[in-house]
């Protein structure tokens, strides 16, 4: 007997075989079908799928043979794998010098006929064979030979698929393990108490924070019923209804206070969250408890601060209200009688009297003016614009009446164009327009009677109202700051004023969600543009 020789690539070949992880596995239907086919096609009583291992041949599938494996030295398949490209056919073993005295020929399965097609990997290693065996001498038809080759090729493919699937499974399980580790870390980390309660109201999991807060060991809780740990009353009233809602799929959340051993009473935020399985069914409840004691403390502090602030603001407003009314009277008195005095005949005879009185009168007027402007400004701070349609034509007419005296004294003209109706507060808009026109009349060029024009044009869904004049204009480098509070560009001698007028205008327009801007040329005139939303109609 010729022993089956070891192929030159044996080490690598063996490695390929081991990599399959197929040796000593249970029979599988796919492979059994193949041996059945082989047996039928070749009409042999015995058909095998053989894998040639170190020192044995192991049968992944067998028809007509009881043994699961046999020795390698006496194996026919051991010879077959030497030539991966060829089917080894032994028509009569007794006539073949290699096998005539082989124990499997003389005894055992009594092999007389053998045909084996090598199972070859993609990279050319012969792992074993698909072989058929008969106990009488025979020949192999060409069709049968071809079939055997196909079956061997099929086995090779199957093996490769199996290998890939197994590696995929291994990768997935590694991935699963990694993710599970991450989740573990997530659960352990942080100060949230987490527990998992199943549909029988039994604790199945608690995280370290939970154990820490309740000062318990895992074995005290896991596997125990919630009712046993919380008490019947608390369980029935507070816990069970909420768990039931969560089991029905509803996320429940509420705030309460717990008394923790050693820690005392803490405000907590409790959630009962339904835990769903792969098919979407609720398999339990995640109970999450967050210690919000500090947050509550901060909220309380904030609320207190706010209340104190509101209180102070209210007091402040009352104070301003009272003072403003109380100031008005004496200011009026000063102005009234200073005015009377100034008109007294015989005053001119007292040296300096006229001049001194003049200062008094001016001072009094400035006080009144400042008071008015300040009150306006303060009102505006809390103002909520009560919107209604405002016909600007009518408004401009009212402003003309308001400024009748100023128009007369300055010999000025107020030209009112075709103005639209806008949405806003009529009294506030009146103040704004009055301020602008009054300024225009005030800052006129010496010797040039002021002409003030109020016109409008539509821009998108807003109106742009322009108040332009032929006055002294504003220097370019001062334009940006004209709306600043108390901003005055001239001495009191030149032009009187509080410096609040334009600030008030801006505040009013902003309250209307509008914008005010100015363009001007020194010595030519200025143009104030107000952009206001259209009336909501």
């Amino acid at each position: 007997m010729k022993k089956a020789p070891i192929p030159s690539n044996e080490t690598l070949r063996q490695a390929r075989l081991d990599r399959l992880g197929l040796l000593d596995t249970l029979p599988q239907p796919a492979f059994d079908h193949i041996t059945e086919l082989a047996s039928q096609i070749c009409s042999t009583p015995i058909a095998l799928i053989t894998l040639v291992d170190h020192d044995r041949q192991w049968f992944k599938s067998r028809v007509g043979l009881a043994e699961e494996q046999a020795g390698r030295e006496e194996s026919f398949c051991g010879h077959a794998i030497l030539d991966p490209k060829q089917v080894l056919v032994v028509e009569d073993a007794l006539q073949d010098a290699r096998f005539s005295d082989n124990p499997m020929v003389l005894g055992g399965p009594k092999i007389r006929f053998y045909a084996g097609a090598p199972i070859v990997t993609e990279d050319g290693y012969a792992l074993g064979t698909v072989c058929v065996i008969d106990q009488r001498a025979r020949v192999l038809e060409p069709a049968q030979r071809a079939a055997l080759c196909s079956l061997a090729s099929l086995v090779a493919t199957l093996l490769e698929h199996e290998r890939l699937q197994r590696e995929e499974a291994k990768r997935n399980s590694a991935e699963e393990r990694r993710r599970s580790q991450i989740f573990q870390v997530l659960l352990q980390a942080g100060s949230e108490l987490k527990s998992f309660v199943d549909s029988d109201y039994v604790y199945q999991f608690v995280n370290p924070a939970y154990l820490r807060y309740w000062q318990r060991r895992p074995e005290d809780i896991v596997g125990r019923r919630v009712v046993d740990l919380a008490g019947e009353a608390v369980f029935q009233e507070m816990i069970k209804p909420r768990i039931d809602r969560a089991l029905a799929g509803e996320a429940v959340q509420y705030e309460t206070a717990f008394s923790f051993p050693g820690l005392g009473v803490r405000q907590v935020d409790v959630s009962y969250l339904p835990a769903r399985g792969d098919a979407g069914e609720v398999m339990g409840v995640v109970v999450r408890v967050q210690d919000i004691e500090r947050r509550k403390q901060r909220e309380d502090d904030l609320r207190q601060a706010l209340a104190s602030l509101q209180h102070k603001t209210l007091e402040q407003e009352r104070f301003i209200h009272i003072i403003s009314h109380d100031l008005r009277e004496p200011i009026n008195t000063i102005n009234n009688f200073a005015g009377l005095l100034a008109g007294e005949p015989g005053l001119a005879d007292l040296p300096g009297a006229s001049r001194y009185l003049d200062f008094v009168v001016q001072g009094g007027r400035r006080m009144a003016s400042l008071l008015n402007d300040l009150l306006n400004l303060i009102q505006l701070d809390r103002s909520v614009v009560a919107r209604q349609p405002v016909d600007l034509n009518l408004l401009a007419g009212q402003v003309r009446d308001d400024l009748a005296m100023a128009l007369q004294q300055s010999n000025g003209q107020l030209l009112i164009g075709d103005l639209p109706t806008v949405s806003g507060d009529p009294s506030l808009l009146r103040i704004a327009l009055q301020n602008l026109v009054s300024n225009a009349l005030k800052f006129s060029r010496p010797g040039m009677p002021p002409v003030v024009t109020v016109s409008a044009q539509a821009i998108g869904n807003a109106w742009c109202i322009e108040v332009s004049d032929n006055g002294i204009g504003i220097p370019a480098d001062q334009l940006a700051g004209v709306f600043d509070m108390f901003k005055r560009l001239h001495s009191r001698k030149q032009y009187d004023g509080t410096g609040l007028g334009l600030s008030i205008c801006q505040r009013i327009i902003e309250l209307h969600q509008g914008r005010i801007s100015v363009s001007s040329e020194l010595g030519v005139g200025s143009c104030f543009a107000l952009v206001l939303p259209q009336s909501a109609s």
């Binding site: 008005r328 009277e329 009026n332 009234n336 009377l340």
Partner: protein, 128 residues
């Protein structure tokens, strides 16, 4: 109908003096009565026949009885006297006060202080 009588109801002496001067400067030569409290004014109305064409200036901010209270209490006395015209004369320009004034039928007008000659003259010519 020209006014033959002016009545000032105001607790502020300085304002009363000034307003009286203004009324005179407007060219009025008739009777000017001054009351420093609503109570005093009411006592007067009760015993006056109120058949003389009268213009009453009533302040709002007064201690103990403010202008609105006074107006309410004076209503039964003055409401069907066509010769009497009651006006608020006040330093308050607040919309709230204006509204309150317009809600009382006895109050026929609202003037902000100080009263000036032009306003008095307008009133006198309107009453004519």
């Amino acid at each position: 109908m020209t006014y033959q009588r002016f009545i000032l109801i105001d607790d502020n002496e300085a304002d009363n003096v000034y307003h009286e001067i203004m009324i005179r400067r407007a060219g009025f030569g008739g009777e000017i009565l001054v009351f420093e409290s609503g109570i005093d004014a009411l006592a007067f109305f009760v015993q006056d026949p109120l058949d003389v064409s009268t213009c009453i200036f009533l302040d709002i901010n007064m201690p103990m009885m403010d202008g609105f209270e006074m107006a309410e209490q004076a209503t039964p006395l003055l409401i069907d006297k066509p010769s009497v015209m009651l006006l608020m004369l006040t330093s308050s320009g607040s919309p709230a006060d204006r509204e309150r004034a317009s809600a009382l039928p006895i109050i026929k007008g609202y003037v902000t202080k100080p009263l000036d000659v032009v306003t008095v003259q307008k009133l006198m010519s309107a009453g004519a």
